[in-house]
Symmetry: C2
Subunit: 191 residues, 2 copies
């Protein structure tokens, strides 16, 4: 299964593509960030990101696009751009008939490190280890996009009957996912 | 000058197209709402709205697309979808080389009614009167989209040397616009 992760951001949008085998092995395909200058108008910046996302979907033909679920109560100054980018990325995937999945930061951290409250550094380190890279993916937005992709690739397995054999990371993911669903039902999650 | 207004919303997105002459006369071209069912996934709903916006831009060839500026502190439950739709609409315009402008609800109300705190009913009534319609445009989202388009069409005049001859509504618009700019500098405006 091939998954493209998108860490939405107006200044830097992280993109990461991985292949995952049935044995839970993940392999790096590519990563990049789509950067847009603050001096440009928002519509031009969003268009550049839309084109970057669209081109990568066509180039790498992922089975699914995993996008960070943005919370409305996060940092108010950046949340608007982040939400707009997530919406734009969703449309680029939907337009090409590619499945879209949203994962919360907590789910992603739990899936990759086993700890839903892991720091950025720890996530980068685990992404490097899981993909057998010699260096941490830079910038951090790219590492986050790869973590999102890994989180999504591992999800079906974590929720399948094979869950008995799940790793601590996958068990933590299931718990984080359940907690997120509960919060969503309580009206906390807005995307 | 032809302007297309977009009142962003995931359930109902209002679209309204007007022609404005140099004498400040405005004429209705068309209006509609793009509705999407709550049962569908967000990416499919955003795609439907993107396609509706894109089709109308191609059909009516506006000189500018005026979109409501979304405030992060508005109703938290709906703001995410609204922001995503506004971002998607911006991309559809930018992709076709059409100018994008954002106007706050206060600016729009002031431009159309002379009162930045006017109610929805008052805005609908003024839109009907200004466009010489026999009935109020329904639903309200369509009326809001037309008000956005009128607000944008009248803007250059209100800010030009002709401002001396401006109507009370246009003077209120200038004041609301200045207040919005001030709030934006203070970090209140996030889009």
């Amino acid at each position: 299964m091939r998954v493209m992760g998108v860490d939405p951001g107006l200044t830097r949008c992280g993109l990461g593509v991985i292949d995952a085998s049935s044995s839970r092995t993940v392999r790096l395909v590519a990563y990049r960030t789509a950067s847009t200058p603050a001096g440009q108008t928002t519509d031009r910046r969003l268009l550049q990101i839309a084109e970057a996302v669209g081109q990568w979907i066509e180039l790498y033909q992922p089975d699914a696009v995993a996008i960070e679920r943005v919370f409305a109560r996060r940092d108010v100054d950046t949340v608007a751009g982040t939400m707009q980018v997530s919406g734009v990325a969703m449309v680029e995937a939907a337009r090409r008939g590619v499945e879209v999945a949203l994962h919360t930061p907590t789910e992603v951290k739990a899936a990759v490190t086993g700890d839903g409250r892991a720091g950025k550094e720890q996530v980068s380190r685990m992404v490097m280890r899981l993909l057998r890279l010699e260096d941490k993916p830079r910038p951090a937005d790219a590492a986050d996009a790869l973590a999102l992709a890994i989180c999504h690739a591992w999800r079906p397995l974590a929720l399948s009957p094979l869950a008995e054999a799940a790793t601590p990371a996958q068990k933590a993911w299931v718990e984080a996912s359940r907690a997120a669903t509960k919060r969503a039902r309580q009206g906390w999650v807005t995307v």
